[in-house]
């Protein structure tokens, strides 16, 4: 497998890797050319990239660096076996201690990002791996005036800020996976929310990194190559002004080739390596009707979360304004309408489930389907805290917060998520792949784990202390699985040659001469990174052989259909699901009508007062 960028022997020794990526803005071009290019520079498979594009309705590549596109890319990477995370503003907001770095200090051994008080926010030291992703200039050029104001006010300490290209830089410590960072955050929010973002002189930054012996790879879509003191490794691409997808794919390639990606065929390891799980992805935003948006919103946040703040506001105003219910009347009306909308959404969902019969996997027709069976893994996955073999998990880390009255409550610190890895549903007649992207996942299985009870490595990896706990939900392998979604054809070889891959890897393990070819440092033993390279090379060989034997077959997958709005995955049977939906319907109706009546009463009361 070839590597990208210049190789620095010193760097290889220390194990430090810096990757600077300049995300270019969107430039449209035809799909096929892009697919070919992506395939040529990554380990992604042609039909995999193509079907992902087509399934997401992308027929020509006018992709911009928006979050949706990043989600798609991320998903494609995951499907191809990469660990991939899209970080969005919601995650940024969750970062504790928001501080803005206004200066960068460098020494022979590190780069430090400092806040206004000279305190270090983040240090890039030796023996750590970082990925630095640099956003595009588009937004900065728009807000140049703002930047100038900030510079005048002394908020930005970097003196060269306005004379050199100013880029937004996001720095994230990520030791095990591909990190894709969206560039839609504005300068101010990045600074105030992330705590690890900085407006910095780009040349200064790159020069410093180079002084440290960092391996800097730059994708330059803005023609700054001449101004920057580094090797631009993709002059051809720059000339063609390629879209962001390729840039991200290239990142994946670089990381993969350096053993930074997690795709290390865990099935062949006796004890699968469980890296820190990716940060939870934000759900994809689809174009929705106003009505659907409102009902979905109401459903997402739930009636109580929606109503309690409003009631609290109403009570507050009552206390402030006396007994005159000026605001409460419309407030109650709104609550009522939202309650009814919520009830209606659940009612529609309930009817859709009730009215649609269950299919058998063997005779599944394309289109809307409901299937019940057992969960089975396609890729090896283990819940990080309970260590249960599963096909999906979500874990919430909570910290105990003492209250004034001596009691305590649990506050969410971080949510981690297995992402959208596909898995199988099996019934007595066969099995089918489920692609959980955009699914409404309804899980009953829940486990609360305290550090004192569990000693899983994952607890340490997540930085869990004694005052924390983890609430973990998962779909365990073999558990009942209910899926209502859209069955559609899929052309892919995902998982098809798994057995063959395992066989070849076992053979490779026994063949010392062949194994020696992957011993990059020549120390006579194969370390984790070298093994990852060996697995990747074996996988490539297998792929070529499969193609030669034309073993690629059409397959079916259940996912989110273009027209069907329902895509439900639940770990319990249909009866339980219907029962919970019925409960929501009645809750919504009672809440809705009672609130409307209160609103009417208050309105009439006001009219009478007037």
């Amino acid at each position: 497998m070839s590597t990208v960028g210049s190789k620095n022997p010193a760097l290889e020794k220390t194990g430090r890797h810096f990757l600077v990526l300049l995300v270019s803005p969107d430039y449209g071009t035809d799909l096929d050319r892009h697919i070919e290019k992506i395939v040529s520079i990554t380990d992604l498979q042609h039909w995999d990239v193509r079907q992902k594009f087509l399934r997401h309705g992308i027929t020509s590549l006018m992709i911009s660096d928006t979050e949706d596109d990043l989600q798609r890319i991320s998903h494609a990477l995951k499907t191809a076996g990469y660990q991939s995370t899209v970080l969005d503003e919601g995650i940024i907001k969750q970062q504790p201690l928001p501080r803005r770095a206004v200066a960068v200090e460098s020494s022979d051994s590190s780069i430090a990002f400092l806040d206004r008080n000279g305190q270090m926010i983040l240090g890039l030291g030796k023996n750590s791996r970082y990925i630095i992703v640099v956003g595009d200039l588009a937004h900065e050029s728009i807000s140049l005036a703002k930047l100038q104001q900030r510079a005048k006010a002394g908020v930005l300490a970097d003196g060269e800020l306005l004379t050199e290209p100013v880029l937004r830089i996001f720095v994230e410590r990520e030791e095990t996976g591909v990190l894709i960072v969206g560039n839609r955050f504005n300068y101010g929010s990045m600074g105030s929310k992330a705590g690890i973002s900085v407006g910095v002189n780009f040349r200064h930054m790159v020069t410093t990194l180079q002084k440290l012996g960092a391996d800097v790879v730059l994708e330059d879509g803005f023609g700054f190559a001449d101004q920057l003191p580094i090797t631009v490794t993709s002059a051809e691409w720059v000339g063609q002004r390629l879209a962001a997808f390729e840039v991200h794919a290239r990142v994946a390639k670089v990381l993969w080739s350096r053993g930074l990606a997690l795709a290390r065929a865990p099935a062949v390891q006796e004890h699968p390596v469980q890296g820190p799980p990716p940060i939870e992805q934000a759900p994809l935003q689809e174009p929705l009707s106003l009505y659907k948006r409102s009902t979905d919103f109401a459903q997402q946040i739930g009636p109580l979360k929606l109503v309690l703040p409003l009631i609290a506001t109403a009570l507050l105003f009552t206390a402030l304004l006396g007994a005159v219910p000026i605001l409460q009347a419309p407030l109650a009306m709104n609550i009522g309408v939202l309650g009814l909308l919520w009830a209606h959404t659940n009612w529609r969902r309930k009817r859709a489930i009730e009215d649609f019969p269950t299919s058998k996997v063997r005779s599944l027709a394309m289109g809307k389907v409901e299937v019940i069976g057992r969960a089975a893994q396609m890729l090896e996955l283990r819940a990080p805290f309970s260590q249960v073999d599963c096909v999906w998990y979500r874990a919430e880390l909570q910290r105990k917060m003492p209250m004034q009255d001596g009691s305590h409550r649990w506050r969410r610190v971080r949510t981690i998520h297995s992402g959208d890895l596909p898995f199988y549903l099996e019934d007595d007649t066969g099995r089918i792949l489920v692609d959980p992207v955009h699914a409404n996942i309804n899980i009953n299985t829940r486990q609360i784990i305290h550090p004192a009870v569990a000693s899983a490595d994952g607890l340490l990896a997540a930085g869990m202390s004694s005052d924390m706990r983890c609430v973990e939900s998962y779909i365990a392998v073999g558990s009942t699985l209910y899926v209502m979604g859209t069955a559609m054809p899929m052309r892919s070889t995902e998982g098809q040659d798994r057995e063959e891959l395992l066989k070849r890897l076992r053979r490779l393990k026994q063949d010392k001469a062949a194994l020696a070819e992957f011993d990059a440092d020549g120390n006579g033993r194969i370390d984790e990174d070298e093994w990852a390279m060996a697995v990747a090379a074996t996988r490539q060989d297998l792929l070529k052989d499969s193609l030669l034997r034309k073993q690629v077959r059409d397959r079916t997958v259940i996912g989110k259909g273009g027209k069907e709005s329902l895509f439900i995955i639940a770990d319990h049977d249909e009866r339980h699901l219907l029962w919970s939906l019925t409960l929501r319907v009645w809750l919504g109706i009672i809440l809705g009508f009672s609130s409307i009546l209160v609103g009417v009463f208050l309105t009439l009361y006001l009219v009478r007062l007037a």
Partner: protein
């Protein structure tokens, strides 16, 4: 004031009722569409089976020279299925095909050379797989029809269904006589 409140409640109730009726109507339309879709899914498989039968008969002809009548029965059953109109007639015609094919496969036991023919084996596997799928999808279709038939007889859906003259749908079910096992005479 009480009168006004009652009036508002009444208006809300009427509005709610109208919306509810619209919801019921949409639900019934969805159920009808489900039935149409379920039928289309069966139809695809029936056509596939009809396409396989001539190939199967052609392969068998070379070996089963003394079973011309059985082969003709299979062809006739296929012709009958192609001409059948109406759910009951179609179900019966398909049951006849199934019986005829069952008879044919049973007779193959007498022809070891045919049993060893790869073309025949491939076709037999294909036809058997299609039959299994038809059975599953028939079950699905009947469940869809059943849901619809129950719904249009339940309150409050019955009022909307009656107003729109919605009638019960027929299940995909063959007559008892057509489902009797075929008598095989081994020579």
């Amino acid at each position: 004031m009480i009168l006004t409140i009652l009036l508002v409640i009444l208006v809300l109730a009427v509005l709610g009722g109208i919306l509810y009726a619209v919801g019921i109507y949409n639900g019934l339309v969805t159920l009808q569409e489900n039935i149409s879709q379920a039928w289309s899914n069966i139809d695809v498989l029936l056509k596939q089976r009809h396409d396989e039968i001539p190939k199967l008969v052609k392969v068998c002809e070379g070996y089963m020279k003394h079973e011309r009548q059985t082969l003709q029965e299979v062809i006739a059953a296929r012709q009958g299925a192609l001409k059948a109109k109406g759910m009951g007639a179609m179900a019966s015609a398909e049951a006849v095909i199934q019986r005829a094919l069952g008879g044919l496969f049973a007779l193959v036991e007498n022809y070891p050379e045919l049993k060893a023919n790869q073309n025949f084996l491939g076709l037999q596997r294909r036809v058997t797989a299609i039959e299994e799928q038809i059975a599953d999808r028939r079950e699905f279709y009947n469940a869809s029809v059943n849901n619809y038939n129950i719904r249009i007889r339940q309150i409050p859906d019955i009022f909307v269904a009656r107003f729109l003259n919605y009638e019960e749908r027929e299940l995909f079910k063959a007559a008892e006589a057509d489902r009797k096992d075929v008598d095989i005479e081994f020579k």
